[in-house]
Symmetry: C2
Subunit: 303 residues, 2 copies
């Protein structure tokens, strides 16, 4: 099972030579998800070898241009490349009209269907699940309604200790319950304890995406314990008042959230174009949370 | 006086590693004009050293995405960079609504004004002029209404031969007429011939932009004799039926137009992503029109 995050764009509103506007590609157990789609995302996907046509879900956090101006171009290109498989786009109300009106004026009838699922930017919950993954949303705190996301593997099955099970001659009908971590009644009428015949499931991995947002402790319950947290750090503490005014975070604030949420690893992005490099961000964050990296366009993180 | 064309994007609908979607920057006598604005144009401008804030006019040929999906991102960026000077956008009806609705949903109030001038894609004429340049539009032949453009220097003044003029003791009041190429009555009551006291003006240079279009001889009167003609050549003759079906041109067709319009030089662009290089286009065009080049992103042409 794979769980990989490819950073397609790690800049803020103003693109720079090295940082495109925001976009990330997530491959979680063969579910292919794009989070945000700033201008130029399709070129970045091509550059970093991400296959367009595998995408099944696109999540748009909010309607600032650096998070969605590349969406309609990507959708057009997927059509021109012959896509016929439908796609689901989760995003704020208003996105659908923008996308459909541009596709319509082009006069192109797409060869695939788009389903829009509207997010209101204030109601947390599961927005997608299948047998292997779940996608959750929760509200961030920004100038406009903005959605955070957690992508997590479903709770896995307990691992059956086949030899013990066989040795005790239990009925196969016990297996589904044991795998779910429940005790089961055997054909002999007795109840058997699942812990005697299974090992605990492999841990379910999870990734949280928090951009754009001011420092906001309300998000902690939603991201507690994730393996990898992406948190925006548009600024450093030297620009704290600017961060506050624009509802963005400093590297220190992002690290504080990571620490309080007890995540395994923190990655920082959405750096303002004013910073020539990311050293200051990294140093600042590490004073609070050691396991921090600042992302670069093209970096791949495996969980 | 300068007249330079910077190719910002020379690809067709599908961007490739080396060819971005269509955009060109024209500096004509210090008038800074962008023609078309495919996705990623703002990054290309940065890459090729074109100053955003000098732009005064943006011309959009038609509403296929590869010609305008970068516009709203560029307008946002100019705002973020502190622009306060207004800008005029010439383009098809429908463009204004697309741009304004996206800027509006962003919630940003631009620090500068945008004036839209609607082009109907069928009426030729002058759309802008000042004392140094003129911009003309004329209809191309594509799947949707599409505008071609000619940017030309205004007719220049005749060059006064000051020594001769002084030697004959003519009145200064003759000068304005002589410079316009008209005979003038001197204070002695006699009429003097401007040709005796002037040299003909330096020739006015001109640039024509024809993309996207099928082979269309009706454009010839509008582009006859231009110094530089950009004509799309999405395909080569080997793909002639595809060119016809999609209302695009082959390299040979573009060269035929260049020859019939007696232009000085032809440059070809808007190459389909199916071509790995431009050799075939160049060879094919040169069989008809010798002075042909296929453009690359970043090339600058001086007229």
């Amino acid at each position: 099972m794979s769980f990989k995050i490819t950073i397609l764009g790690s800049g803020a509103a103003l693109p720079t030579f090295s940082r495109n506007p925001t976009a990330q590609f997530i491959d979680c157990n063969n579910r292919h998800i794009l989070i945000d789609c700033g201008e130029g995302t399709q070129m970045q996907m091509r550059k970093f070898g991400v296959k367009f046509q595998k995408l099944t879900h696109i999540l748009i956090s909010h309607l600032h241009g650096d998070h969605f101006f590349g969406l309609v171009g990507l959708l057009s290109t997927m059509h021109l490349l012959g896509r016929d498989q439908g796609i689901v786009i989760y995003g704020p109300i208003g996105l659908e009209e923008i996308v459909r009106s541009q596709l319509e004026i082009e006069g192109a009838k797409l060869g695939y269907g788009i389903t829009f699922k509207h997010l209101d930017g204030k109601t947390p919950g599961i927005i997608f699940e299948d047998k292997l993954i779940e996608i959750h949303t929760f509200p961030l705190k920004h100038r406009i309604k903005t959605n955070g996301f957690v992508i997590k593997e479903k709770t896995k099955e307990h691992i059956l200790l086949g030899d013990l099970f066989k040795a005790d001659g239990l009925s196969l009908t016990c297996i589904p319950k044991f795998k779910k971590g429940e005790n089961a009644r055997n054909t002999d009428g007795k109840i058997y304890n699942f812990q005697d015949y299974t090992l605990p499931p492999a841990p379910s991995k999870s990734y949280a995406y928090c951009s754009d947002t001011a420092y906001y402790e309300n998000i902690i319950p939603f991201i507690t314990g994730v393996n990898l947290l992406y948190h925006e750090a548009t600024f450093t503490e030297a620009h704290k008042s600017r961060a506050k005014a624009t509802f963005h975070s400093t590297a220190l604030e992002a690290a504080t959230i990571a620490q309080k949420a007890n995540v395994k690893k923190l990655i920082l992005g959405h750096l303002s174009a004013r910073f020539e490099n990311s050293k200051e961000h990294e140093l600042e964050a590490k004073t609070i949370f050691k396991n921090t990296e600042v992302v670069e366009d093209g970096t791949i993180y495996s969980i």
